[in-house]
């Protein structure tokens, strides 16, 4: 009896996840379509894609030994003919609405074409490769930052909620407004102080130039470069984050059942774990996911300030040389990133909160 019940629960759970994944993916589709439309309002996407097509046809014909003896004019004419045929075949001369669907499909399958100017470190001109090459650095830096903030906020938030009204508590409340300044801005100040004035930490970049080759020194060097960007994010989030958590935990610790637990003689550590933290987990996880989502966005400017070779800096470079395929590709990747985060959030939520779990039975 027990096993089939839990079987049912698992099945229900999976169904729920699939449903959520689908509805989230629909939103990704909408976001991608929006991107396509916006990008093409100035005809950019058209130019890119048609340009791609022309180049690939051109290359194909010129590399084909059958046409070796042809004169340049004849080759050009051939390419042009072939190009027009392909345009018709692929439907690139249809009205925008239809074309946009094709573009959409390309975008969603991450067929993002070739960059106009940029290329990846490995030499690839494919936008997808360029972006994927940069993605890990961004994720590494900003996921670390978000996690560190998360842990700090909860730890200090709990502490403050236990000592609320104290001088320390009042200090945090008073300084909360300092968090309105984004991390990248604090970063500028940190660079001025520690790099420009004191010369103890690097201005930016991921590794020194030249970088150490041994794994451990290389790793340490990278850590050294992470200090300022991480610190800027931690400082920005610090006071408000801890304060919000503290208020949050206060509200949760004034619940009746907490008092009951105290009356029952549950030791304080256990009360904190089972009666304050655990019920607070679902909203806490939500906050984590939201801050992760925000971190992807904030990454763009922070990376530009610190010259951190990730997705954000790529965005800035793409802007300055106006490499539109890359910009479009980045937007699509971001949409996927966000969608993934939301989906994971939903999954976590349903695991933790019994109220939602129960819906599967």
């Amino acid at each position: 009896m027990v096993s089939s019940e839990s079987d049912l629960a698992v099945k229900g759970f999976i169904k729920f996840i699939i449903k959520r994944a689908i509805s989230i993916y629909i939103i990704v589709i909408i976001a991608a379509y929006l991107t396509v439309v916006i990008a093409n309002m100035g005809g950019y996407l058209d130019n890119i894609i048609k340009g791609e097509l022309y180049v690939s046809i051109s290359m194909e014909i010129r590399n084909n030994p059958v046409y070796d003896g042809y004169s340049p004019e004849e080759i050009d004419k051939l390419v042009e003919e072939r190009f027009q045929l392909e345009v018709k075949r692929l439907g690139y001369d249809t009205p925008f609405v239809i074309r946009s669907i094709v573009y959409l499909k390309n975008a969603l399958t991450l067929d993002l074409g070739r960059a106009q100017f940029l290329s990846s470190d490995s030499g690839s001109r494919y936008v997808r490769n360029i972006i994927l090459e940069r993605l890990p650095q961004t994720v590494m830096l900003f996921t670390t930052a978000t996690l560190i903030n998360f842990v700090i906020n909860i730890g200090i938030g709990l502490y403050l909620s236990r000592h609320y009204g104290s001088k320390l508590d009042k200090l945090f409340i008073a300084l909360s407004p300092t968090s309105v300044i984004p991390g990248w801005f604090y970063g500028i100040f940190l660079i001025i102080i520690f790099a420009s004035y004191l010369h103890v930490l690097p201005y930016g970049g991921i590794l020194s130039v030249p970088a150490p080759t041994e794994p451990i020194p290389r790793f340490l060097d990278m850590l050294r470069h992470m200090v300022l960007p991480l610190s800027s994010w931690i400082i920005s989030n610090f006071f408000l984050g801890c304060y919000q958590n503290r208020t949050f935990f206060l509200i949760f610790s004034t619940e009746d059942y907490v008092e009951v637990a105290r009356a029952k003689g549950v030791p304080p550590r256990q009360i904190e774990r089972n009666y304050i933290l655990r019920p607070a987990l679902p909203p806490i996880i939500t906050m984590l996911a939201l801050s992760l989502i925000n971190s992807w966005g904030g990454a763009i400017i922070t990376e530009s300030v610190f010259n951190w070779k990730g997705l954000g800096l790529l965005t800035r470079s793409a802007i300055s040389i106006f490499d539109s395929p890359v910009l479009i590709g980045i937007t699509i990747i971001y949409a996927y990133l966000l969608a993934l985060t939301v989906l994971i959030l939903d999954i976590l939520y349903s695991i933790i909160d019994p109220r939602i779990k129960a819906k599967f039975d």
Partner: protein, 476 residues
């Protein structure tokens, strides 16, 4: 305890605001900002500000490049101010002009002597002469001489034929002058210097072995003399020169790489930032309020639709899309504002206000109002909106800095409105020009501190307001 429950009169709120230190902070900063804005708008009209910022027609030609703010001298460094001596000015100090007519021709011999005191601990940044001359066919021939304090001998710097009536002689960049001064340095040192001093340093350096390199050279203090001996041809011809010894400090805020006085940007950045931030915040908050009310009150399909939109917005990558739009379409700042509003309107505020609307909707007095036949419009405007308006005010105020920083961020990325003197643009310029590497900290710090001031003004105010509007937060 329903003391401050529904009592949001302006006076009462203000009074309560003063009881909080953060409230006072915020208000003081805000008043300061408003004052600066008003000052900016009234002393430099908008069109003039734009023109100044564009720096056309050599508006800034007489400003030094990358100059520090003047008040930096209070902290020790005796940096030079810009010295300007104009021979065309009547009875100018430090000028002696002697004109001798050569008998029997229309040739005049001129000797203009410029003398000034140089008393600073650092070298000037540049050294130019701007001429204003009158002549018909033959341009004046000039010989330029230089005498350092204490020396009895002059150095001949240059033989020069004026190229136009308003010719500008950039002595710092003049090849011939450089070579002449290098020769002079070799004479002084007895050997080739380790590092060749730039023109403006050579002209002012103490004449000893310290001329060997830029790190050891020291400025010679005393009275300097420059003499221009000119031969002018033609009836009514004349030559006047405006000597400009560019300093390293300028104005309240210093200058940037284009010689622009940063005070313009700092001052005018204020009303722009305030206008941008407040407009964005107000519009978005109010629109969200309307959406929330419609969604919560009418429920049903409209509600679901609006909720769907809100969810979509949550996953839309706001910043990348904004960047994409700004990069492709290069809007000016106000269109950018509209784009930001469109991209934010279905944000999180809708959800929270909607929750409140749903709560209020169930209250008895709404039922009562419906019972006596009040129209939906009446209920919404008379009952619901007054209840949900106060809670959003703190958020409204508190989110202003976010939009100001957004604009700054876009400017930092190079997507800003290049015509407008905004703080973000200044930071963008400073970073592009490597201000931090060059030690030009003021260039970054000034706009940064203005941003901080703005941020704190609204943020502290918003937090204090929050405590007033949500009395529960006070107790907890």
């Amino acid at each position: 305890m329903g003391s401050s429950g529904g009592d949001y009169g302006l006076k009462g709120t203000l009074r309560e605001l003063f009881s909080y230190k953060s409230g006072i902070f915020g208000l003081v900063f805000l008043l300061l900002l408003i004052f600066i804005s008003i000052y900016a708008v009234f002393t430099i009209p908008y069109s003039e500000a734009i023109a100044l910022w564009r720096g056309q027609e050599g508006v800034y030609l007489e400003n030094p490049r990358n100059a520090q703010p003047s008040w930096i001298t209070y902290f020790g460094n005796n940096l030079p101010k810009t010295i300007k001596i104009d021979s065309s000015v009547e009875n100018a100090e430090g000028i002696t002009k002697i004109v001798t007519q050569v008998p029997g021709s229309d040739i005049k011999l001129m000797k203009i002597k410029y003398s000034f005191e140089y008393d600073y601990d650092a070298f000037p940044s540049e050294f130019n002469i701007f001429f204003s001359a009158e002549f018909n066919e033959s341009a004046p021939l000039l010989k330029i001489y230089w005498k350092k304090p204490g020396n009895t001998t002059q150095i001949k710097l240059l033989d020069y034929i004026l190229k136009s009536k308003n010719d500008k002689l950039y002595l710092s960049r003049n090849q011939k002058v450089s070579e002449k001064l290098l020769q002079h340095t070799i004479d002084v040192l007895g050997t080739h210097p380790a590092i060749i001093l730039p023109v403006e340093m050579s002209l002012f350096a103490v004449e000893d072995e310290t001329m060997n390199s830029t790190t050891t050279a020291e400025p010679l203090k005393g009275i300097y003399e420059m003499t221009i001996e000119g031969t002018v041809f033609g009836e009514g011809s004349d030559v006047d020169g405006r000597l400009i010894v560019y300093g390293k400090i300028h104005g309240l805020a210093g200058t940037d790489h284009l010689r622009r006085d940063l005070t313009v940007a700092i001052l005018w950045g204020t009303p722009i930032a305030l206008a941008f931030g407040l407009t964005a915040s107000l519009t978005i908050s109010l629109l969200q309020l309307v959406l929330a009310t419609v969604s919560g009150y009418y429920g049903g399909r409209v509600d679901s639709l609006i909720q769907r939109f809100t969810e979509i917005y949550m996953i839309l990558p706001f910043l990348p899309i904004l960047i994409m739009i700004a990069a492709f379409y290069k809007f000016n700042i106000w269109i950018l504002l509209i784009v930001i509003i469109i991209l934010s309107v279905f944000g999180g505020g809708v959800k929270s206000s909607r929750a409140l609307v749903m709560q209020i909707k169930e209250y008895q007095y709404i039922e009562a109002a419906k019972a006596y036949g009040a129209s939906s419009k009446r209920i919404i405007f008379l009952y619901i909106i007054p209840k949900i308006l106060p809670p959003i005010v703190p958020g409204l105020i508190g989110s202003v800095p976010g939009y100001v920083f957004l604009e700054a961020a876009l400017a930092f990325l190079g997507l800003g409105d290049p015509k407008l003197p905004t703080w973000g643009k200044v930071i963008n310029d400073s970073f592009s020009e490597g201000a931090l590497y060059k030690g030009l900290h003021y260039w970054v710090l000034e706009p940064a501190l203005m941003l901080v001031l703005t941020a704190f003004a609204f943020s502290f105010l918003g937090f204090a307001l929050d405590k007033i509007v949500n009395p529960k937060l006070k107790e907890v």
